[in-house]
Amino acid sequence: MIANLLNGDNVVFTGVNIILAWGVYLSLMTGTLTFAMAAFMAIGAYVAGVLTVNFGWPLAPAALAGMAACFFGGLMVGFPALRVRGLLLMLVTTGVTFSVQVGIENIEYVGGVQGIRGLSGTTPAIVAGSVFVIGGLLWILSHSPLQRIFDAAREDESVAASLGINIVFVRVAGFAVGAALAGYAGVLWGHYVFFIAPQNFGILESVFFALFVVLGGVNNMWGPVFGAVIITLVPEIAREFGSGFAEYRQLFFFGVLVVLLLFRSQGVLSFRTISLKAPIKGLRPVTSVSEERADD
């Protein structure tokens, strides 16, 4: 059964979902629960798709262009949008998903509701490699001072600001980098499925991407991975039990989700990675440090 799961489709779709989950996670880590990820996924997929299909670009530079478009799109949306909080912000990001979807439907150049076909080039190896590289970068982040700045901004925004942390910068940066990740996921996904259309990037998709993180846990980089893998593969596992069960898999899946949110609302993996432990044994003699400081 497990062997059946290890095919190209599942590797690509799971990998893409992990990258999307990390995008949501980056944004959420800085205090923004976003339902705009499908929009950025669409922008990435369409920008890169037009470049590869209509202009014959290779996949790598097209992917970079798609990510850049999403990053700047994230900045443009982020600066005005991140002034609001909580429910309002969710509504704003939901609005972004709707607008981008409707916007693409009305651009004849990219096929309107018909979408674009002919995207190709993504291989399971590229997706797996991307997951490892992005994961590595996130791992570095989670042990860097920036992680603490993010955590502080999320835990107590005004105290963090009074310590000299530019909250707007931190939140917009987190949102825009998250958007770029979603864009990259869109590029990979689009160039694997060959055909993309606006209906692939609706609000339901955005909600799913947010659920990866809500289910898995928001406090460390592994929670989103867990959520993305489970949500992607559970339907596939369910399929193994025959079509009778498959009809109920959505019901089963959302049932589990409701139970989980009731009893473990912080997500399955909710531990916070300690960014740095004190080197108490290797501590330099403090007196010498004090003397240095007194001089300056």
């Binding site: 860097s144 942390i165 530019n166 740095l276």
Partner: protein, 270 residues
């Protein structure tokens, strides 16, 4: 300050230049119809510890909230080292060199004690992108943070969650975190609230220890032991106005101050 021997602070012996660090001019703050601050003017001078006393609701915390950028004044001006700071965003006030602690302790409870201090290290807060690139967190930042923890006697607690710290240690950690921003002016909002006599005594020693790292300290407190021990000068407030100013002896025996405090049980304050 560095070689003054036993660190007692008799009024009048300031170590700084004595020029104003903080200048507040006819400041007001209204919440709806309530005038929380009603025309306050004061200065905090280089080298001094200014004590601010007054009954609950006198506007002391509102004042500190305005100086640190949490509230915007309704009118009046606040200058820090000559620069107008009212209306500046919070992080700019913080970067200019004003740090504070909170009446109700506000640590990052999900982090360890060390992480709380590291979060505030100035080089990281001002250059967050460089902070991400410094993968092996710079040795200097850790040394700085550990030195501050050590100064506050918290070395052994470095890896403990801030949310698990006993009350007194949490207060000390807040001071260490504030110092990590390399402030020039430190605002302490009721640092001794909820402490017993012995803890207050330790806190007095701790504040004396950090004094030489700062240009000036402004201190809100109900605990008169701490106020007397530390303040070079005292301002008494009531109903959003300054009612008395001077040495601790003068102010604490001032009739209006006595009247304001009369019938107030100090132990219940804060």
């Amino acid at each position: 300050m560095t070689d003054s021997g036993p660190e007692t602070n008799p009024p009048g012996t300031l170590d700084g230049t004595g020029k104003p660090v903080l200048e507040i001019d006819s400041l007001t703050k209204a919440f709806g119809g309530i005038q929380a601050i009603d025309g306050v003017s004061l200065t905090v001078n280089d080298g001094e510890i200014l004590g601010i006393v007054g009954p609950n609701g006198a506007g002391k915390t509102v004042l500190i909230n305005m100086v640190s950028g949490f509230y915007r004044p309704t009118s009046g001006s606040i200058r820090f080292n000559g620069q107008k700071i009212d209306g500046l965003p919070l992080h700019k006030v913080g970067r200019l060199g004003i740090a504070r602690t909170f009446q109700n302790i506000r640590l990052f409870n999900r982090m360890t004690a060390l992480e709380n201090v590291l979060t505030a290290i100035k080089q990281h807060t001002t250059h967050p992108i460089l902070a991400a690139l410094a993968f092996a967190p710079s040795r200097q930042g850790i040394d700085e943070a550990m030195e501050l923890l050590d100064l506050m006697g918290l070395t052994a607690r470095a890896n403990q969650g801030a949310g698990e710290l006993p009350y007194g240690d949490a207060r000390r950690l807040e001071i260490a975190r504030a110092l990590a921003t390399k402030p020039k002016l430190l605002l302490l909002d009721e640092p001794a609230a909820g402490m017993n006599e012995q803890e207050t005594g330790e806190l007095i020693e701790d504040i004396r220890k950090v004094r030489n790292r700062l240009d000036a300290i402004a201190l809100i407190e109900h605990d008169m032991t701490l106020i007397r021990a530390l303040s070079d000068r005292i301002i008494a407030m009531n109903y959003g106005k300054i009612v008395a100013e001077g040495s601790s002896k003068e102010v604490l025996s001032h009739p209006e101050v006595v009247e304001a405090y009369l019938g107030t049980d100090e132990e219940e304050d804060g």
